[in-house]
Symmetry: C2
Subunit: 471 residues, 2 copies
C-alpha cells in the first residue's frame, strides 16, 4: 500500500515538476516580452523627459552617415583612401550632446592633431638622421619622452579642466605619425591626410550640431540656475505655508517631491562646472554674447548650494511640531512664516528676472521685507524675555528653527548679491515695463492694506513688518 | 621758452619710453625664465603631492614604447601591417590612473570591438546581397540605425554609469567594419586584425598597470573614507577644545586648514561614485576580495557628507563667542565640549578601525559617552529653566549651537551604523588584540577617575556623564 502511495506521490510530484518546467518554458517568451516592454517604457520616459535626447541620437546618425559618404563616393575615396576612417572616428568621438562640448572636443582634437603631426614629422626627420639602426631607438626614445611628459601635464588642474582631451590626442597623433614614419615613405602625406580627415569629421559634427536643433550648454546652465532658485523657493513657501501656518494633518498632504526638491540642488557642483566650461567654448547665440560671464554662474551656483545646505539643516527640525513658550508662540510663528514667505518670493522674483535676463530690482522689496521680519523677530525675543520667565527646553526648538531660518535669509541675500553682480557684468536690461507693472501693484497694495489691520492669516502685506513688538 | 621746455620734455619722455621698452625687451627672457621656473615648481609640487603621478606617467611611456615595438620588429609588422596603429591607439586611450579604470575601459573596448566587429561583418554580408547599387544604401541605413539606437542607449543611467565607453566603441567599430567592407575585400581579416591589435594594446596596458606599482581605485576609496572621518574629527576636536574650553585669543591660533578641512568633504560625491565604479571592476587584491561591498562605501560617504553639512551649519555660529545665560554657561559649555570631544574620539576610532579593516567595537564607548552627554544636556536645560528666569535672546545662540551639535552627534551615530554594516558585509575581523588593550585601559580609567571628583578641565572620564544636573 505504502509503496503504491509513494509511487503515486512521486509520479504526481514528477508531473508537478514537469508542469512547472513547462510553465517556465512557456513563460520565457512572456518574461522576455515583459522585459522588452519595460525597456521600451523606460526608453519612452527618457525621451519624454528630454526630447532633445532623441534629436541628438538622430543627429549623430545623420553626421555619421554623411561622413561615410567618403567611402561610397569614388572621387572622394580616391583622395583619402583608408584614412577616411579617421573622419568616421572623429564623428563618433567628438559629437557630444551640447554645441559647447562638441566645439571643445573638436577644437582640441583638430589643434592637437595639427601640432602633434608637425612635431611627429620633425621627430621622424631627426631620427632618420641617425641611420638605420639608430632610427628605431631614437623614435622609441622620443615617443617615451613625449608620452611621459604629456601624461604628467594632464595632471595640471588648468590643463585637465579644458585641454585634457587635446593632450590625449596629442600623445596619440605624435606616436602614430612618428612611429608610422618608420614604415611608410610618405610620412608627410600620412600626417596631412590624418589632419584633413579629422577636420572633415569635426566640421561635419559642428555643422550638424549647430544647424539642427542646437543644444547650447550656456542656455542649459542659465535655465538650471533659475530652476534651482525655484526649488529653494518651493521649500521656503511650503515651510511658511504648511509647517508654520497650518495643522500637522495638512503637513502630510504637502507635495513631498516639490517640497524636498532642494535636495537635488546639493550635488550639482560638477555638473555646473562642466556646463560652464562647455559654455565658454560656445560662440555668440541668442541672448548670450561671446564673452558672457559664465564664471559668475559658478559663484551663484555656490551660494545657491550653500542656501540648500542651510535648508537641509533646517529640514531636520521639521519632524516635530513647532514648539515655543506659549506666550510668544503665535507671534513667533507668524514672523517666521513672514520671513520664509518673503524669502521665497524674493527667490522667485530673482529666478524669473534671471530667466528673462533683466536687472532683478523687483526682488528688492521682498528682501527688505524679510530683513525687517528678522529685526522684528529679534526685538520680539528681547521684549518677551524681559516680561516673562520661560521654559528653556521649550525655547530650544523654536530658537534653533528661527536661527537657521535667519541663516537661510542671509543666504538669500547672498544669492541676490551674486545675481546683481551677474546682471551688471552681463549688462542685463533694466525692466522698464516691469517697473510700471510693479508700481501699479504697489499702489493697489498700500490702498488695500493699511498698517493697523493685520491678521495672522494676512501676513504678507508690507505694513505689518514694523519691528515694534506686538506680544 | 615754452616750446624749448616742451622739446626737452618730449625728448625726455621719448628717452624714458625707449628705456622702458629696452627694459621690457631685456626683461622678456627674465620673465619667461621666471614663468618656466614657476611651472617647474608647480610640476614639482604635483609630483610631491602624489608621487604616483610620476610613476603613472612613466608607465604610460613604457606601455606605449612596448606596443610600438610591433612597428620596429619585422615579423610582428608582417602579420599586422598598418593595423598596428590600433594597438598604439588602444594604449593611449585605455591606460588610466587606476587599475580599475584601466580594466573597465579595456574590457569595454575589447568586448565592444568583438561584438560590433561580428555585427559589422554580418551587416556587410546582408548588404552585399542587395547588389552593387543597393549595397551602399543598405550600409548607410544600417550605420544610421545603429548609431542612432546606440547613442540613445547611452542616455540610460545604468549604461551611462558602467558601459558608456563600450557603447562609443561599439558605434565606432560597427561603422568602421561595415563601411570599410564596401572597399576592402578581406573584411573578416580587417575585423580580426582590429580585434587582435586592440587585445594586444589592452593587454599591454593591463600588464604594465598591474605589474608596476599598481594604483587600486578600491584602496583609494577605502583610504579616502577613513581620511574624511578624520577631517570631521579634526573639526569636532578643535570645536570642543578651542572654541568651548579656552579664551577667544587662542581661537585665532588654531590651525585653520586642519580645522576647516571638513569643507573638502562636501563636494566628494562624484569622485566617490567613480572610484566605487572602478573598484567594482578590480580583481582580488591585498585585503579586498573580488565581491567587496563597494556600494556600502557610497552609503558611508553619504552619511559622512551629511555630517559635514551639519558641521558647516554649526561653523556659521562660531564667529561670535558662546553666549548663554550666566547660570548655565559653564555647565553648558562643558557638556557641549564633552559631546564634541567624544564624537571626535568615536570618529577617530571608526576611522582607524576602518583603515585596519577590523570591527569598530572600540568606538562604541565613545558613542555611548556622547549620547549620555546629550541626555545630561537636556536635563540640565530642564532643571535650569525650572529654577531661574532667563533672558530669551541670551539663550538663542547657545540653544542653536547645542541643538546643531546634537544633530552632529546623531550623524556620527549614523556613520557608525553604516560602518558596522560594512564590517559585517565585508567580514572584517574582530580585533582580539585590540580588545585586550582597551580592557586594560578601562581598568586604569575607573581606578584613576572616581565619579565624584570631576573638574571642568577633566571632562572626559566616563564617570561625569551621569545625567543628574550639577548646576
Amino acid at each position: 500500500m505504502e509503496s503504491l502511495e509513494m509511487g503515486v506521490a512521486t509520479s504526481q510530484e514528477r508531473a508537478g515538476a514537469l508542469a512547472r518546467a513547462w510553465q517556465q518554458l512557456m513563460g520565457l517568451p512572456k518574461n522576455s516580452m515583459a522585459k522588452v516592454a519595460e525597456l521600451a517604457k523606460k526608453a519612452m520616459n527618457l525621451g519624454k523627459d528630454d526630447p532633445r535626447r532623441i534629436t541628438h541620437s538622430l543627429k549623430v546618425g545623420v553626421a555619421l552617415s554623411l561622413v561615410s559618404l567618403i567611402y561610397y563616393y569614388q572621387p572622394l575615396y580616391n583622395s583619402f583612401g583608408v584614412s577616411a576612417m579617421w573622419a568616421v572616428m572623429t564623428v563618433v568621438v567628438v559629437f557630444e550632446f551640447s554645441v559647447g562640448a562638441t566645439l571643445s572636443k573638436g577644437l582640441n582634437r583638430g589643434l592637437a592633431t595639427f601640432l602633434a603631426g608637425a612635431l611627429g614629422v620633425g621627430a621622424h626627420h631627426l631620427a632618420s638622421l641617425s641611420g638605420k639602426t639608430g632610427e628605431p631607438i631614437m623614435l622609441g626614445f622620443f615617443v617615451f619622452l613625449q608620452a611621459t611628459g604629456s601624461t604628467f601635464m594632464r595632471f595640471f588642474p588648468q590643463i585637465k579642466a579644458k585641454y585634457d582631451y587635446g593632450m590625449l590626442i596629442f600623445i596619440l597623433t605624435f606616436a602614430l605619425v612618428s612611429v608610422s614614419g618608420f614604415r611608410q615613405e610618405e610620412i608627410l602625406e600620412f600626417a596631412h591626410k590624418r589632419l584633413s580627415t579629422v577636420v572633415i569629421g569635426g566640421s561635419a559634427c559642428l555643422i550638424v550640431s549647430i544647424a539642427v536643433c542646437p543644444v547650447w550648454a550656456g542656455e542649459d546652465l542659465h535655465r538650471h540656475i533659475a530652476l534651482n532658485m525655484e526649488k529653494l523657493a518651493n521649500f521656503l513657501e511650503g515651510f511658511g505655508d504648511k509647517y508654520l501656518r497650518e495643522s500637522e494633518d495638512d503637513a502630510s498632504n504637502r507635495d513631498e517631491s516639490l517640497f524636498r526638491g532642494y535636495k537635488s540642488v546639493l550635488g550639482t557642483k560638477s555638473n555646473e562646472e562642466s556646463l560652464a566650461n562647455f559654455a565658454s567654448w560656445e560662440p555668440r547665440h541668442g541672448r548670450f554674447g561671446f564673452r558672457h560671464p559664465w564664471k559668475q554662474y559658478l559663484k551663484i551656483g555656490a551660494s545657491i548650494r550653500q542656501c540648500a545646505n542651510r535648508i537641509e539643516a533646517l529640514d531636520g527640525y521639521l519632524t516635530t511640531k513647532f514648539h515655543a513658550p506659549p506666550q510668544v508662540q503665535i507671534r513667533l510663528k507668524e514672523l517666521c512664516a513672514e520671513m520664509s514667505m518673503e524669502a521665497a518670493r524674493a527667490l522667485r522674483q530673482l529666478s524669473s528676472s534671471h530667466k528673462a535676463m533683466i536687472v532683478p530690482s523687483s526682488a528688492t522689496p521682498h528682501l527688505e521685507n524679510s530683513r525687517a521680519a528678522v529685526k522684528a523677530l529679534k526685538s520680539l525675543l528681547e521684549t518677551a524675555s524681559r516680561k516673562d520667565a520661560t521654559d528653556l527646553l521649550a525655547i530650544v526648538h523654536a530658537a534653533t528653527v528661527t536661527s537657521l531660518l535667519i541663516e537661510v535669509v542671509d543666504c538669500t541675500d547672498k544669492i541676490a548679491e551674486s545675481i546683481d553682480e551677474l546682471s551688471s557684468l552681463a549688462h542685463f536690461k533694466t525692466a522698464e515695463k516691469e517697473k510700471k507693472h510693479v508700481e501699479c501693484k504697489e499702489v493697489v497694495l498700500t490702498v488695500s492694506a493699511p498698517e493697523a489691520t493685520v491678521s495672522p492669516e494676512n501676513g504678507t502685506s508690507p505694513g505689518r513688518l514694523d519691528p515694534a513688538p506686538v506680544v
